[in-house]
């Protein structure tokens, strides 16, 4: 998916403040805030509105993680065990919507899987090494 708008929406400013976007998006918004007084003023206005108790549908969606897949679904996604449509959606939710919480949960799940694989592989490697060692050509 190539299309991305050139503007920064109010929801994106709020999500930036909540650290709820992917790092690339945060960096882009950070840069834009440095360069644009108008954008900084817009952000300040949004914060003021929040302070008065205003919330948007997007803010509620993010805070309650309305569409985030649960941990079991993410684990199934990691193993490639989800139907194509659902897997596509999770990729979209992380890459396009930019859900950094799901990205972090996914990274953690992948690291745990690697660690488990490593834990299984270590004794196997040792056993294979030791059982084949006596066939190694001896030093000349």
């Amino acid at each position: 998916m190539a299309h991305r708008p050139s503007y920064i929406s109010d929801e994106e400013l709020l999500a930036y403040r909540e650290e709820r976007l992917r790092v690339e998006d945060l960096a882009r918004i950070e840069q834009a805030l440095r360069e644009s007084r108008q954008l900084r003023e817009r952000l300040a206005q949004l914060v003021e509105e929040e302070d008065r108790g205003w919330y948007s549908v997007g803010a509620v969606w993010r805070a309650h993680r309305i569409s985030c897949p649960d941990r079991d679904t993410l684990a199934a996604y990691c193993c490639g065990a989800l139907p194509q449509n659902e897997a596509d959606y999770i990729r979209f939710h992380i890459d396009v919507v930019g859900c950094r919480l799901c990205e972090a949960e996914l990274t953690d799940a992948q690291r745990r899987q690697q660690a488990e694989e490593e834990a299984r592989a270590t004794p196997r490697r040792k056993r294979l090494y030791e059982s084949s060692l006596r066939y190694l050509p001896s030093d000349r």
Partner: protein, 221 residues
């Protein structure tokens, strides 16, 4: 109230087991705390690492997050999704670190309140300071109803395999993109996007009534 997954404020098997874990932690059970740290440190670290220059910085912020969680335990509502709550504390600690390190010079809010006490109480979206939450007390019920309605719609779309609709609404509501950009991103017609938005707003109004956040969405259509 029901939801598709373990998120939000919806009681579920996972939330119940987390509530038991939190109850044991409240009673000072060290084994429960070790289990908690083992379960959550990895995802917190993965959340923070990309935003700070060193692993040590990330680990420090995770440590502050865990301490923040323990300090907030008396006010934590176990019906809340634990990971959302922890991530909210982590985001708060992280933004505080970024601010201290000059990365957010335009952002003056702090993670301590007027009396220097940490602000660890989170019950709503957006800003997390308790002073702000107080201003929201009157809105809390609307917010819960709205969250439940959104969860109900999303659950239905997922069950019915309406993934394109979900993608469309997520870009419109969560990213705040305009109809034409959502249409271009998803390869849909602009009118189709407008229709989905209109239908969803109508469904939300039917479920929660004239909540200001929904009315504002309607205005922007």
């Amino acid at each position: 109230m029901a939801a598709h997954n373990n998120r939000g404020d919806v009681p579920s098997r996972s939330v119940s087991s987390h509530a038991l874990l939190v109850e044991r932690i409240r009673q000072g059970d060290q084994e429960a705390w070790a289990q908690f740290v083992a379960e959550y440190e990895g995802r917190l670290l993965a959340f923070i690492e990309p935003r700070v220059p060193t692993v040590q910085d990330a680990e420090d912020i995770v440590q502050e997050t865990l301490i923040g969680f323990l300090r907030s335990l008396p006010s934590y509502d176990p019906r809340r999704d634990l990971s959302s709550y922890l991530f909210a504390i982590a985001a708060h600690k992280l933004t505080d670190w970024l601010r201290r390190n000059g990365r957010r010079p335009w952002d003056s809010a702090s993670s301590v309140d007027d009396h220097g006490r940490p602000l660890e109480e989170f019950s709503g979206p957006g800003r997390t300071a308790s002073t702000i939450l107080r201003s929201r007390e009157g809105h809390a019920q609307d917010e819960q109803r709205l969250a439940a309605a959104l969860a109900q719609l999303v659950r239905r779309w997922k069950e019915q395999g309406q993934w394109e609709r979900l993608k469309c609404i997520e870009l419109l509501f969560v990213r705040g993109w305009r109809n034409k950009d959502v249409a271009a991103a998803l390869g849909m017609g602009e009118q189709q996007v407008a229709n989905l938005k209109f239908q969803t707003i109508a469904q939300l109004k039917q479920l929660v009534g004239n909540v200001p956040a929904v009315l504002k969405l309607e205005e922007s259509s």
